[in-house]
């Protein structure tokens, strides 16, 4: 489970940045007091245009950066005070995630399994499960630099799941991928839901959200504009399709914190 309460994140602006953004403010609010809850066995989508604050929010959830204020609880642990416990229970995958080009999938997976204190038996079992599921056996010993984008994405998926995390964070996971490669990610997200994991993913592609999510929040300029179940979103639409409705909500731009 993920519980986020009144989460804020601001970044100090340098003189150069103030000039660039044409502002006299000394800091920029990237996330401005958002709250939401993601339930186990459900998929929560954080939807918003570029620069809305999605990535910053997910980075705070994943302990990569610290919130300016507010609280985040992941699987019952506080992100600020129990970061290591949170990290043991979290899987993190982004569309821009890189891999070590000079290592093989086997070596990368072993590296992350060791860092996550996965036992040898569990590692072998999980690795083989994903190798079979994603058809990875043929390139397990090839260096990453020799693999195609689709193969690399499969390695990234296995890396994310190698320690069997309770909570999985996907930050625009299909960004830049072709439909066949993106399908692997969609399948993974569905499998996570079936396995009872808590899943949060960010996107700006409405079709993907429609396909997967149970709950959603629309975020813009660091504030939540809309938050409800996907079912209610569909029912209460004031426009002809999901994308138009998303654009309408963003353009109305009346932030209301849930």
């Amino acid at each position: 489970m993920i519980k986020v309460e009144n989460l804020k994140k601001s970044f100090k602006l340098s003189a150069k940045q103030r000039k660039e953004f044409n502002t006299t403010d000394t800091e920029a609010k990237s996330v401005d007091g958002i709250s939401f809850t993601c339930q186990p066995g459900k998929i929560f989508s954080l939807l918003g245009p570029n620069g809305a604050g999605k990535t910053t929010t997910l980075r705070m959830l994943s302990t990569i950066i610290k919130p300016t204020s507010g609280t985040i609880e992941i699987a019952g642990f506080n992100v600020d005070t129990q970061a290591n416990e949170v990290r043991k229970r979290i899987g993190f995958l982004t569309g821009s995630t890189g891999l070590y080009e000079r290592l093989t999938p086997d070596e990368i997976l072993k590296y992350y399994a060791d860092l996550n204190d996965v036992s040898k038996e569990d590692f072998e079992q999980r690795k083989q499960h994903y190798y079979d599921l994603l058809d990875m056996n043929d390139f397990a010993k090839k260096r990453i630099g020799q693999l195609s984008t689709g193969m690399k994405q499969k390695v990234s998926i296995t890396r994310t799941m190698i320690h069997d995390p309770e909570v999985v964070v996907f930050d625009e996971p299909t960004s830049g991928l072709d439909v066949i490669t993106a399908e692997n990610i969609i399948t993974l997200i569905r499998d996570c839901k079936t396995a009872g994991k808590t899943v949060i993913f960010s996107s700006h592609i409405m079709s993907e959200v429609d396909l997967l999510c149970d709950d959603l929040a629309i975020i813009n300029r660091g504030k939540i504009l809309y938050q409800d179940t996907m079912q209610n979103f569909r029912t209460n639409m004031k426009t002809a399709n999901l994308t138009s409705e998303f654009i309408r909500i963003v353009n109305e731009n009346q932030p209301v914190n849930a």
Partner: protein, 395 residues
């Protein structure tokens, strides 16, 4: 500790598979000195042989004096003497490079010599071809010695007549061979060590931090349940180790090439005398904190940089900040004392020289070691602070 080793092990594997790493940190340091030494010694030998056998044409203007001296010199191999009718034409011929050198005699040369005075002569030469002038000077010296002996014989005087002092050199030099080497050539060893150690640290420092950011792998690493200090230490071990490896390989290449090429047996004996196991241990004791210090300087820069290229463009000029103080080791007269022991890099160079000479003062050595530990601790702390800044890591 376990996590530190996991990170270090992975980084070693990753770095050793990088062709750039193998080239720049192992192959180049290993082959640089053998290739340089081979080229320089071959070139020098062939050049010396060429110079010694080059035919020199020397013009002369006797000015109505005896040709005895010219006749004697004319028998020397690789010299040809050509007469001229005056100094003007002789000078012009040397200036225009149609002959190599010119010698002229004063109109009172014979008379003065006979009168036991000095016979005056002059040489036309080009300082751009100084080696030709030097070869001719050698010939003139032989003639002068001949004339001295002739005068002494005419007056029935022994050679000792004009050499009233005799220096007994036996047992006079109280410096040991290693002391002399340490003073005049002792700077080479720490120079090689420091320069290659710095270069060896640079590539991994850039690749393991700026490179990790550029490849987009840093986020996934930060989400693992590993303390950031452990990540930093794991990577720092690799940076430091590559610095030491590069320095060791360079030194091995230098010593190995001197031995294998058998350039000078005496030089080999000197190397064996200077590079003792004790010196090597002491050198590494100084070099390990130095390598940590280098890593500690480079890592914050690499952490701050957005890309491999940006980090490289900042760190490459820093090379000079290491090389210039290292050159102090080549200056005779500057020694390790209670003042120089506080100056980073300079202190390592001077301490190494003192150790080669076999007379290190324990106080300055302790200061050197302690100051290096202190500086490397500060550098590690700065690295940790920079690595902890989310603005740097996600820049």
């Amino acid at each position: 500790m376990k996590k530190i080793l996991i990170i270090a092990k992975k980084e070693f594997l990753d770095m050793f598979r990088d062709k750039r790493t193998i080239m720049r940190m192992i192959l180049i340091p290993l082959l640089a000195f053998p290739v340089i030494i081979y080229l320089v010694s071959s070139l020098q030998a062939s050049q010396s042989e060429k110079e010694a056998t080059k035919e020199l044409v020397v013009g002369y203007y006797l000015n109505d004096q005896s040709s005895a001296m010219i006749d004697r010199m004319d028998t020397t191999a690789h010299f040809t003497f050509v007469p001229y009718i005056d100094t003007t034409s002789l000078s012009a011929a040397v200036s225009s490079d149609s002959i190599n050198l010119g010698i002229w005699f004063s109109s009172s040369f014979d008379q003065n010599y006979e009168a036991r005075e000095q016979g005056e002569y002059g040489i036309f030469y080009r300082s751009a071809d100084l080696e030709e002038y030097d070869r001719f000077q050698e010939l003139i010296k032989v003639q002068e010695e001949y004339l001295v002996q002739e005068r002494l014989a005419q007056n029935e005087l022994p050679s000792a007549y004009i050499q009233p002092l005799l220096l007994n050199t036996q047992g006079g030099n109280k410096s040991t061979m290693t002391e002399t080497i340490a003073k005049y050539a002792g700077g080479i060893l720490p120079y090689i060590f420091m320069a290659f150690c710095f270069m060896g640290c640079m590539l991994p420092a850039i690749d393991l931090f700026a490179g990790e950011k550029e490849r987009g792998t840093i986020e996934t690493l930060l989400v693992t349940p590993v303390n950031r200090v452990h990540i930093l230490v794991g990577k720092m071990i690799v940076v430091t180790a590559f610095g030491l490896l590069s320095a060791t390989v360079a030194l091995g290449g230098l010593i190995g090439s001197l031995y294998l090429m058998e350039i000078d047996p005496q030089l080999n004996a000197i190397i064996a005398m200077v590079i003792t196991p004790k010196l090597v241990v002491m050198l590494y004791l100084l070099l390990i904190p130095t390598a940590i210090f280098f890593a500690g300087i480079m890592i914050p820069v690499s952490v701050y940089s957005r890309s491999f290229k940006e980090a490289q463009s900042i760190l490459t000029p820093l090379n000079m900040a290491v090389i210039i103080p290292t050159l102090v080791g080549f200056l005779p007269g500057i020694e390790l004392d209670y003042t120089t022991a506080w100056i980073p890099i300079v202190n390592v160079v001077l301490a190494t020289k003192a150790m080669i000479a076999g007379n290190p003062e324990i106080g300055p050595i302790i200061i050197t070691f302690a100051s290096l530990i202190f500086l490397s601790a500060i550098a590690v702390f700065i690295s940790f602070k920079q690595f902890g800044k989310e603005g740097n890591v996600l820049r």
